[in-house]
C-alpha cells in the first residue's frame, strides 16, 4: 500500500492503495466515481477512457503509480468546460445512447478529438473513435453528435 495524491476534475484527492491498482479502480472504488466504466480491463474497448493531462487514456491499464501530478478529468468533470458541455448536449440532442455503458468513454474520446481538431472529418472521427466499442451500434449517431458539437463549438467560441 502507498499513498498517492491526485488531481481529479480540479480537486486534490488522496488515496491509499497498492501501486499496481489501475486508475480505473481508484476512480471507481476509492473515489466512488463510477461514471468511468469497466468493460474489458485490457484497453480493448474504450469504456474506461479518461483524460490524463488532456490526453484520452484507457484508465484500466494505467497503474496509479504512473499518474504522478498529471491532472485527471473524468466524465463527471468534462461538462465543466465548453467542449465537454457541447459534446454532452449534442449526445442528448441526437439521442445517441442506448444501453449507455460505453458512452462515458465515447464522450471522453470525442472531447479529446474536438480539443485537437475543431472541424473533424469522417476520417478523423474514425481514427480517433475506432478504439471505443459500442455493442448497441450507436456509431452513426455518435458521428452525427460529434459533428453537431463541432458546429456548436465553432459557432460559439472560434
Amino acid at each position: 500500500m502507498a499513498t498517492f495524491q491526485l488531481t481529479v476534475n480540479g480537486q486534490r484527492r488522496e488515496v491509499n492503495v497498492d501501486p499496481s491498482t489501475p486508475l480505473l479502480w481508484v476512480l471507481r472504488e476509492d473515489l466512488k466515481m463510477t461514471g468511468t466504466k469497466f468493460g474489458c480491463g485490457i484497453s480493448a474497448c474504450g469504456a474506461c477512457t479518461v483524460h490524463v493531462d488532456g490526453v484520452a487514456t484507457r484508465s484500466c491499464i494505467v497503474p496509479i503509480s504512473h499518474i504522478g501530478d498529471r491532472p485527471v478529468i473524468t466524465i463527471e468533470g468534462i461538462g465543466n468546460d465548453a467542449v465537454g458541455r457541447a459534446v454532452q448536449d449534442a449526445w442528448v440532442d441526437q439521442d445517441v445512447v442506448q444501453c449507455g455503458y460505453c458512452q462515458s468513454g465515447q464522450i471522453m474520446s470525442a472531447c479529446a478529438l474536438l480539443k485537437s481538431t475543431s472541424r473533424p472529418t469522417d476520417q478523423n472521427i474514425e481514427e480517433s473513435m475506432g478504439g471505443n466499442l459500442c455493442r448497441c451500434g450507436t456509431y452513426p449517431r455518435i458521428r452525427a453528435a460529434i459533428k453537431s458539437a463541432a458546429a456548436q463549438i465553432n459557432k460559439g467560441g472560434a
Partner: protein
C-alpha cells in the same frame, strides 16, 4: 375493496413522505386471452405502476429490464399518453421482481421474444387510461359536476366553469375512487407521445456519468467477489493452495463453492482489484475425471459428418426425392460453419446479494427476474417473496442476462450465504464471461438446392447441426417437439419462401459446452444461410435480389406485408427478410394494435415506410 376485481388502488406513503396513488392491474387478466397458462390471482405487495408525487412528478414502474432497447422510456410514453401526464415530469423506474410486474403473456418477469412493447402495450395503455379516469372522477366530485364535462391536459384536470386542479392535488381523492372496469382508450389520432419523436429519459444521466448500472452499486460494508472457474466446464476443484492469495492486502476470504456444473474457488476482498490479483495467485489442481473435454476440430468433423445424413424432421413438404432427380449441374450445395459466440455485453455480468437469515436482497441487471429470484431463494433456503430483487440498469445483454440456470445469481447467493449480513458484489470479468460458456451454439448447415429452369428453387434440403438451447430447461416442453428445438430451425423450417419441395431436419449433438440464446436466436444463423443462398440464386438467375424475393415469397398478403415491414425496418441489412417466427407469432397473439395498424397500411411503399417509422419509434422510444 374487492381484490378479485381486475384492478385495485392503493394509497400509501412514498419514500419521500408524500402521498402517492398507486394503481394496479392484474396482469393475469390478459392471460385469458392467450394460450398461456393462467396464473392464480394473488394479492400483491404494496407496489404500483403509477406514483403521483406531491411535487407533480409521476413515477411509472417499468416491468422490464432496460438495457439499451429503450423500454424505460417507451412504456412510460404509452402510459403517460393515455393518462395525459405532463411528459416533462414523468420518470421511468425499473420495477423489482414481483408478480404484478410479470409479462402478461409469458407469466414470468422477462425481457425476451421482442415482447417488451407488444406484450405490455395494452396493459400500459389501460393503466394510463384508468388512472386518468380516477383523477377525473375525483375532480368531478370536487366541482359537483360529471366526468364527461371535464378534460385533461399535461397533468391537469379542467372543469366546465374554468376550474382546474393538478393531478398531484387530486391524487389522494382519486385513490378512493373505484377502479373503472372498462375505460375508453384514445384513438391513435389523439396520441401525443406514442408514435412521436420523444427523447430517451435516460440520456442525460448516461452522458454525465451519474447513472448507476448494476456494476456501479456501492453499499455500506460491501465486499467484492470473483470466482476461479474450472478451465473445462464442469470440472471440480481437487486441491487448492490459497496461501499467496490470502496474503494480498484487502482479501477477506477464499473458499470453494459449488457451481451450476462442477466447483470453483471464490475470492472475497474489500475491492475488485485485490480480489482479481488474489485470484491469479491461487494454485488450483482440477479434477477433470468426470467431464468431457470438447475440442473444436473434432466437433467440426463430427458436425460435418452428421450433416450428410437427415436429422429429426422439422419440415417435410412435397417430394423428398425431387432433389435427387435434378442433374448435378442444376444443383447448389452449400455448407456453413458458425463458431461458438459469446454475447459479451459491454457491462460485465455481476450480481450483488445480501443475506440476512430470514430475508435477502439482490441487485441485478436481470432479463429474467422471476427465475433469478427463485434461484437465489433456493440457494438461501428462503421463499421467493423473502428475496427482495432490485432490477438494476444493465449495459447490454443480448440474451446473456436471461439464463435458465441463473448461474451468476446462484454463485453470488452461495458467497453471500457464507458472508451472512454483508453485501457481496460478484463480478464476472470480461475474461470470465468469454471463457465462461453460455455461448450461441456452434452450428453447421448443409443445404442442397435444385434450381428449376425458371431460376427458382424447385427443391431444398437443409440439415442443421447444433446443440439444443432448450433441452433440459423448463422451456423444453414448450419449444422442443419431436426432437426438434424450434429455436434452431426458426427462419428455415417456417420460411415464407414458396418452395414446393422443402425438407429441413436437425441434429442436436450433446456437447459439454453451456449454450444460450443469442439475440434473435435461430435467425442469427438461419437468416444468414437462407438469405445468402437466395442472393446466390438471384445472381444465378440474373435477377434483382429484391425482385427475386418478391416473386419467391408465398402469395398470402400477410407474408409479403411482413416482409416489407421487416426489410424496411432494417435498412442496413439490405434485403434480409425477417421470417415468421415465435416472436411475430406472439406479437399477433398478444395484441397488437401496432401490428394490425402496420399491416393494414402496408399497401404502398410510402405507407410502409410511414408505418414502419411509427412502429420503430414506439419500440425504441425514439429514433
Amino acid at each position: 375493496m374487492n381484490l378479485n376485481r381486475r384492478g385495485f388502488l392503493r394509497v400509501s406513503f412514498a419514500a419521500t413522505g408524500g402521498l402517492v396513488v398507486a394503481l394496479y392491474l392484474d396482469p393475469t387478466s390478459r392471460a385469458q386471452e392467450t394460450a398461456m397458462p393462467r396464473q392464480p390471482a394473488k394479492v400483491y405487495p404494496p407496489d404500483a405502476f403509477v406514483n403521483i408525487r406531491p411535487d407533480g412528478k409521476i413515477a411509472i414502474q417499468v416491468n422490464r429490464l432496460e438495457f439499451g432497447q429503450g423500454v424505460q422510456t417507451a412504456l412510460p410514453m404509452v402510459l403517460a399518453d393515455e393518462m395525459d401526464a405532463d411528459w416533462k415530469n414523468v420518470i421511468g423506474e425499473l420495477a423489482p421482481a414481483q408478480d404484478v410486474y410479470k409479462d402478461p403473456l409469458f407469466g414470468i418477469q422477462i425481457v425476451g421474444g421482442s415482447g417488451s412493447i407488444a406484450h405490455s402495450y395494452q396493459q400500459y395503455r389501460e393503466l394510463g387510461a384508468k388512472t386518468r379516469a380516477m383523477l377525473v372522477a375525483a375532480a368531478a366530485d370536487r366541482w359537483k359536476t360529471t366526468p364527461d364535462k371535464c378534460r385533461t391536459e399535461a397533468s391537469v384536470v379542467h372543469g366546465p366553469n374554468g376550474q382546474s386542479a393538478t393531478y398531484a392535488e387530486l391524487a389522494s381523492e382519486a385513490a378512493r375512487k373505484p377502479v373503472p372496469a372498462t375505460v375508453r382508450l384514445k384513438n391513435p389520432s389523439e396520441f401525443k407521445l406514442v408514435g412521436k419523436r420523444v427523447k430517451r429519459l435516460d440520456s442525460r444521466p448516461k452522458c454525465d456519468g451519474s447513472l448507476k448500472f448494476g456494476l456501479d452499486l456501492d453499499l455500506p460494508g460491501m465486499k467484492v467477489a470473483v470466482v476461479a472457474h474450472p478451465p473445462v466446464f464442469g470440472a471440480r476443484v481437487k486441491n487448492v493452495n490459497d496461501a499467496e492469495a490470502r496474503r494480498v492486502d484487502g482479501v477477506r476470504d477464499v473458499f470453494e463453492i459449488p457451481l451450476a456444473k462442477g466447483t470453483g474457488v471464490a475470492v472475497v476482498a474489500d475491492k475488485y482489484w485485490p480480489a482479481k490479483q488474489a485470484r491469479k495467485l491461487l494454485n488450483i489442481e482440477w479434477d477433470f475425471s468426470a467431464v468431457d473435454r470438447a475440442d473444436s476440430t473434432e466437433l467440426w468433423t463430427k458436425y460435418k459428418q452428421l450433416a450428410q445424413t437427415p436429422g429429426n424432421v422439422a419440415l417435410a413438404r412435397g417430394d423428398e426425392s425431387a432433389l435427387d432427380k435434378v442433374a448435378a449441374a442444376n444443383r447448389i450445395v452449400a455448407e456453413y460453419e458458425f463458431p461458438f459466440l459469446a454475447h459479451s455485453p459491454m457491462e460485465p455480468l455481476n450480481t450483488t446479494v445480501r443475506f440476512d437469515g430470514d430475508r435477502a436482497e439482490v441487485w441485478a441487471g436481470s432479463q429474467f427476474q422471476t427465475v433469478d429470484q427463485m434461484a437465489v431463494a433456493e440457494v438461501l433456503g428462503l421463499k421467493p417473496e423473502q428475496v427482495i430483487f432490485h432490477t438494476e440498469m444493465a449495459g447490454g445483454g443480448f440474451g446473456r442476462r436471461a439464463v435458465t440456470d441463473s448461474h451468476v445469481q446462484r454463485e453470488a447467493a452461495v458467497i453471500a450465504k457464507r458472508l451472512k449480513g454483508t453485501p457481496v458484489k460478484l463480478v464476472w470479468s470480461r475474461e470470465d464471461d468469454v471463457q465462461g460458456g453460455y455461448y450461441r451454439p456452434m452450428h453447421f448447415h448443409r443445404v442442397e438446392i435444385a434450381v428449376g429452369t425458371d431460376g427458382f428453387p424447385s427443391a431444398w434440403r437443409h440439415v442443421i447441426v447444433g446443440q439444443s438451447l432448450l433441452a433440459g430447461t423448463p422451456f423444453e416442453s414448450m419449444l422442443v417437439k419431436n426432437g426438434v428445438d424450434e429455436t434452431a430451425t426458426e427462419g428455415t423450417a417456417d420460411t415464407l419462401y414458396n418452395i414446393t419441395n422443402m425438407h429441413v431436419s436437425v441434429h442436436h449433438p450433446k456437447v459439454n459446452v453451456p449454450v444460450l440464446w443469442w439475440r434473435s436466436v435461430g435467425h442469427t444463423h438461419n437468416a444468414f444461410v437462407m438469405e445468402t443462398l437466395i442472393d446466390e440464386l438471384a445472381a444465378r438467375a440474373k435477377m434483382d435480389a429484391i425482385a427475386y424475393r418478391r416473386k419467391l415469397l408465398k402469395p398470402e398478403p400477410r407474408s409479403r406485408c411482413r416482409h416489407l415491414i421487416c426489410s424496411t425496418n432494417r435498412p442496413r441489412a439490405g434485403a434480409i427478410v425477417c421470417q415468421r417466427d415465435t416472436h411475430s407469432e406472439f406479437r399477433v397473439m398478444s395484441l397488437s394494435e401496432p401490428v394490425s395498424l402496420v399491416q393494414s397500411t402496408c399497401r404502398s411503399k410510402t405507407s410502409d415506410q410511414r408505418s414502419t417509422a411509427r412502429r420503430s419509434q414506439l419500440i425504441v422510444g425514439s429514433q
